[in-house]
Every structure is written in structure tokens, then in C-alpha cells.
């Protein structure tokens, strides 16, 4: 079936079965490789994308559900510059180890900071609790999101 939606600001059309997971559509049909499969069952958060600006695990969204809606991935946020502070903060805070979970965390953090530009550490913990990281123990990831919030206040009112 033909499914059209907005991907990172551009209209795209794919010919896929409506039950195909969005994760597989993005990777296989649209070459969006920042979206990773860690479990395929909505348990780990490595495939997090924004669906109409709300973070969702794309492995649990069927292609048919996104028809006419808006999907944003790391690639889109990066090219618009919307996450440059978050990316810089992740690098500076040492929040990256193996990197497999990183895109998902950045998406969840972006959604949080957009809603709440000055979150407490506990609010950060809640916002990224659906993203699993096995390498870092999360401390430096939370540090990074706090740091990005500080940057945003000083440098960028967009996010």
C-alpha cells in the first residue's frame, strides 16, 4: 500500500504493507540509519523518533499509522541545527560510550527540553526513562541534558 508522510520536513511516499514497523520502513525504505533496533518490542528506546513531535518507539508504530503525519529523526534535527547544543553537550559531558542508544536519547532529550527548557535532574530521569543505556550508568547522560539546557538558555531560544 502507498503511504505518504512528512519525514524530517519533506514529503515522502513508500510502497509497503501497512503493518510493517515504522523502524523497518525508515531503515530499509528510506535509508534513515540513526534509528536503531535494540529489541523490536518497544522495550529499549534505541529506535525513538518524534511522531508529531511526541517521542515514540518506532518499532511499535505500524507504517499505516503514520500516513499524513510528521516523523522527525536525528537526521532531521541535525540538519536544522535544532540539536547542536545537545550533541555538543553529549560530547563534552562524556555521555557517549558505545553510541548505539545515543540517537534515541538525544530525541527524548530534545522533546523534553522543548516542553521544559529548565528541567530538574529528576525530570530528566523521568523523560528518558524509556531509553536504556547499558554502558554509562546514565549519570553523564543526565549531566549532558542539564548542560544542554544551560546552553539553550544562553545561546539558543529555538529549542
Amino acid at each position: 500500500m502507498n503511504i505518504s508522510f512528512i519525514l524530517n520536513g519533506n514529503k515522502v511516499k513508500v510502497e509497503v504493507s501497512p503493518e510493517k514497523p515504522l523502524l523497518r520502513v525508515l531503515r530499509e525504505d528510506l535509508d534513515v540509519m540513526s534509528v536503531k533496533e535494540g529489541c523490536g518490542r518497544g522495550e529499549c528506546g534505541t529506535c525513538t523518533v518524534l511522531l508529531d513531535e511526541v517521542p515514540v518507539t518506532s518499532c511499535m508504530v505500524a507504517a499505516g499509522q503514520v500516513r499524513g503525519r510528521e516523523i522527525t529523526t536525528l537526521e532531521g534535527l541535525e540538519s536544522s541545527g535544532a540539536i547542536s547544543d545537545l550533541q555538543q553537550a553529549f560530547k563534552e559531558a562524556g555521555a557517549v560510550q558505545c553510541g548505539f542508544c545515543t540517537p534515541g536519547f538525544i530525541i527524548s532529550a530534545y522533546a523534553l527540553l522543548k516542553e521544559n527548557p529548565d528541567p530538574s535532574r529528576d525530570e530528566i530521569r523521568v523523560a528518558v526513562s524509556g531509553n536504556i543505556c547499558r554502558c554509562t550508568g546514565y549519570t553523564k547522560i543526565i549531566d549532558a541534558i542539564e548542560l544542554a539546557a544551560k546552553y539553550n538558555k544562553g545561546l539558543n531560544n529555538e529549542i
Binding site: 562524556g94 558505545c98 548505539f100 543526565i142
Partner: protein, 766 residues
Amino acid sequence: MPVATPKKVKKDSNIRVDAQRKVSGKAKFIEDVEYKNILHGATIRSPVTHGRIRGFKNRDEIKNMPGVKAVITADEIPGDNIVPFVKEDYPCLAEKEVKFYGQAVALVAAETPEEAKAAAETAELIIDEYPGIYDSIESMTPDAVYVGGDDNVHSYFKIRKGNIDEGFKGADVIVERVYNSGHQVHCYLENQGMIAEPIQNGAISVKGSMQCPFYVHNALVKVLGFKYSKVRVVQADTGGGFGGKEDMPSIVAAHAALLANKTGMPVSLIYDREEDFHTMSKRHPSRTRIKYGATTEGKLVACEAEYIVNGGAFCTLSPIVAWRGIIHITGPYEIENIKADSYAMATNTVPCGAFRGFGQPQVNFANEILIDELAEKLNMDPVELRKKNLLKPGSKTATNQVVGSSCGMAETLDKTLDKIKFKEHKGNDKGPVKKGMGISTVFYGVGLGAEGKYFAKAGAQVHIKEDGTVFVAIGNVEMGQGAETVFNRICADTLGCSYDMVEILEPDTTRVPDSGPTVASRATLVGGNAVKDAALKVRDSLFKAAAQKMGVKPFDIKIKDGKYISDEGEIDYVDVVDLAYLSRERVAAQGWYKVENVSFDEKTGLGDAYPVYSYSTNACEVEVDTETGVVKVNRLVAAHDVGKTIHPPSAEGQIQGGAAQAIGYALYENLVLEEGKIVNPSLSGYTIPTTMDLCDVEPILVESAYDEGPFGAKGLGEPPMVGPAAAILNAIHDATGIWFRKIPCLPEDIVKELNKDINKEPKELK
């Protein structure tokens, strides 16, 4: 080798060299690497835990399914049907017998992943089911079903030091307890995956997620029957390993390569989470019986210990795991009389193998609770008891190895206690939520040690280009721990160039000789020394070129702030490179390092087991809800003596991440097997900690330089996982007055014990 501290760097250069590609989503994990005309593999697996294979009922039907290009069974393996680990007992594909649920029996390649999966799911194997054995203690009984090894023993080690009977006679107080631990699953976020591709001249190339490219290379030579020169193994960005990608990738790679070899096409074999859970290695479940004897003054005089691990159906790395366990089982204490035995038992469960800590978290959990239990019996402060016995320079370990000058044991203890304010913690909790604090101390043999000494080597190549930028080829891998950054720093600081000039190439077995595995906290020490060796050789050329220009001798030159300096002047690094190119000096060199002077006598269990030890102390504060049994770790402080730190943010990250895995190990991670089959093979069934479960782990870096290490560094990857479990259970005791001797220590376990009137002594063992 003189020890120098790496130069101070500005804040921005603290960023890891792999961070940019990872925050931009451009890192290429194996599933992100694109190939044209690729086939997809799937594995046909045993549906039983033990049985004889009678046949393959519908092989022709499978072969004719849509998209299917190949089906392979054991009889079609061109080389030996063995994936070589410590012993040669693990078949690449089961031929006559299956020994655990999910063991690979046959392979399928098809045009799409869905077609391959459908074919594998349709396959029907004819198997006569045998009774299985799933518990390591049962596996030791005389009438147990035979699974493998020597009477079901995969490996046995012992230590006999001093006179154990006399030792206990001299003890005023003796405590003996049994401690049990369960499986732990690595849960690297990226599942196992490999792509194999036939390349020119009849060779095969395999790329994928792995810790040990040379293990994979050896396995492919064995299984394909190829010459070493007809195999190439390249590591892709690897989404976590923690030991789970030490030996297991050899199996995945061998399967992918068999399919690629048969079809003549590239084949991708990528596991899903459930398949990974059922079939890849785990941390060994254990039973540790340990007995300490001490004088009333608190001097440990004797220790007897028995360590039994469930190795699963095949031997894989169990001997080395059990060996590391027994070397450390008596704790970081000097004790004169020791008797210790370790057994790795065969059962019809998924083979257990390497997992961060490698047999040590299990024994540390046991001895570090027992030392607190002993302190209670002696009516002594557990810190004081430890201080009377801890290893220090000149002490002898359990294997009679003399502790060298790089020993920050005492400093880690003092700094940890100071930071967590250990003395001030006694509260008067009135409500149902009780607070407690606990500690644990750890010593950790760095690297593979005497039982792995044949792998205790590494190579590297450093190659300076015309503009002064540098390619570094390495044999040890980045898997998240920060190795690329450490190698970058070691090379740049040796040459005197800036960090952004040094590129670390992807590990490739055709570039560098066998450098052993990337495990056992050895990459910095062994791989780092190889990089340094290569960089020093190239630097000789630079010294020569600079000396010629300045009219001095090469040894008159020093490097400072990116300049080559003598009494006659100074030249910038890039200009020195230019001079070296003009005078056609050698600008590339191979480096090499091997670990010397380790020994182990299997008759006595004595010897210089490891080249050096890292030391650490963990302290934590917990809250126990005595109504629900829920435990929350409020604070965890961990101080680690790492020799010298090469890259502080990565070192802290290792401590925080390792401690997080250990908190999961102690309190949450519960793999459930029923009749040998895992019943919760998912990240929601087997829960690992999320942001809501963890506190911020507070790392402390203690530096006690190791002369042999690059810039004085030792190793850090594994130690952070070793100690926290005991500290947490000691804190739970502090809060509740109850000794828990099993991990994971779940809320239901706690509630059950709290509901008993007294904390009963454990049953006496036979």
C-alpha cells in the same frame, strides 16, 4: 620505563574521538553497513535441551521455500566442525547431539530477512529427547546424566598454600557460609551481528560486532578450512560487548561465512533480541562456599573456599573464568594458609562465558559479605578488620605473588569512606524505610594472566603522513569503553602532536598481527604499550631529522608543547615531519608488546598470576522498605586505583557504567530458567536498570603509577563491576540486620526473610 603524566589539555580536547560520529547517528554498526545483492541468514535451532538428532524432516521443503538460496547442515562444513575456544568441544553446527535449547543445527540463507526467518521457523528436526541436567551441583553427582567435559567437569583448579589445618587451629573465630548467584545477561544494546562476503582470490571477509577479531579469524580458518591469508576480519562499530562479544561472535561469523562461501554472495546474519538471549553466553551462576579463620585481634590466618560455576553445555571460556575466580576468591587480603578449589560444571543450559569481571563478581560478592559477617562475630568494625588484612606493597597474594609498588588499595578505601561519610551514617530510622551503608574492597589482576599468557601480546602500526597527521592501526577494539581515545592520546602524547591529528583505523586482521582479545581490562596496558612502542620507533626518525637540522644529537632533543626542542633551538612537530620526509626517514613502524613474567603452577596453584593488580573500594547507602522489600541505592561511591588515568571522562564512565551493571546484578537482573530453558528472554522480562532505578555513581580516580604501563596506566574496564554487589548486600544487612547470601536479592527474598523471626543459620553442607 620512566613514568610521565600526559600533558594537560584544554577542555574541548577531552572529547572522545568517536563521539562526533555517534552523536550524529553516523556511526556504522553492522546493520548500518550497506551491501548490494546481499542475502540474509537465519539459524535453525534445537527445540530441546538435550537429545540425539535423527534427521531433518523437511529439508527439501525448506530449500524450495520462497527466496531460499541455501540450507547448510553440519555435514557440509568444509573445514572442521568446531568453533575453537579454550577446548575444542563446541560444534559449529550440531551433528549428532544437541546439548542446550537453541543450539544451532542448520543454517538458511534467503533473499529477505523475513524469508530466511520463515524458512528457519518451518524447519522440523527429528530429535530423540534425552533427560537433561540443569544445575551445577546436580551435575557433580555420580549418577548425573553426562553432558560434557571430564565427568561433567569442564575445568578444575586448586590453590594450596601453607597448612590449612594448622591455620584454622590457630584461629580464634571461624565463619563459613555459602553464597549463590544467578545468571547475568550482557544486554549490550546492539545484538550480535555479522556480514560475510566472498572477496578476491577466493578469500572471505567478515565484518561485524565483536571484541576479538583474531578469535573470529581463527574460527573462520578452522571452520572454512581456509589458509590464514584467505580470511579477513574487520570490526564494525560495536554497540557494547561487556564480554558477550568476546567468544560468541566467532559462532555468528562462522555461520555467516559458511552461507557466504556456499552461495558466493554476501550474507548478513543479525540476531534479534530473543535469539540473542537464548543462545549467546551469560555470566556463570555460582555457588561459593567460603570459610575464614581469624584471631581475636582480627588477623586472618586461614581461608578455605570452594567455587562452583555452571558452565553450561560447552566449555567455551569457563576454565579461565573459574581460574580468575579462584585467584581472587580469598579477597584482597594477605592470608598465610589457603585451600581453594574451583569447578566449572557442564549442564544442558546455554554456555556461559565472559562477562565483565569474568568470574570475580561472584567470588567478591561472597568473600566481601563474609568478611563483614566475620567482623560481626569478632565484634569489630568491618573497616578496621579490612585494614588489618588488606594487601599493600610487599604483601603476598593467595598465590604467593608479591604485591608491587603500584598498589593504591588503602588510598581507595580511605577516599571512599571519606566521601560517603561512612562514620556518620548511623541513623535512627523510625518508619518502615530503613537506611544502611556497606562497603567492599577489591583487587583485580589486570589482563589475561598466566592461564591466558599465549594471548598476552598486542601489535600496532603508527604511520605519519606528509602533513604530520597519523594513521594508527590497532589490534584491540573500541566497543564503547574508550579504547580509540586512549590509543589516540598515547600516540599523540608520544609524538608530541595534537589529538586531532591522530586517526585510529578500524581493527582489521590483515593490518596488525594477532593482538589477543579485547577483554580483561587489557587494551590500555597491552594495546596501549604496542601503540607506544610503534610511536617511539617513528619518533626516533623525527628525533634524527630534527637533530640533523639543529646540529645536535638525537638524544639531546626533548618534546614540549608540540615542539622538538634542544639547546640549539626548537622546531614545530609538523616541520620535523617535513624534515623527516625530505631526508626519507622511516615514517611508519610496527609496535609490539608482550606480557612477561607471569606464572602459575597447576599442582600448587601458586605463582605470579597477573602482571599487576588494580585496586578499588565501593561504598553505598541503601534504603530498604521493610514492608515491600524494595531496595533503593541512594549513593554509591567507587574509588579505583588505575595506575595513571589516560582519559579521565572515559575512566569515570567505566566506573559509573560498571557500577550500574553491578547494581542490576545485585538487585534486579533475574534470568529465569525452567528445565534449562530461559523463560524471560526479553528486556521487559529480564529487567536491567533504567534512569529510575539508579543513583548517580560517584567515581574517584586514585593514581598509583605502574612503571610497565603506558604513561603509568593499568586497566579499568572490569573492576567497576566486581565490588558493588557485596557493598549493597552489606548495606542491606546494616539496614535490616539480615544477611542475604544470594543475588539477585529481590524484594520477595527480602520480605520473606523479614517475616521470619530470626535469621537462621544456613544448612550445613555435606
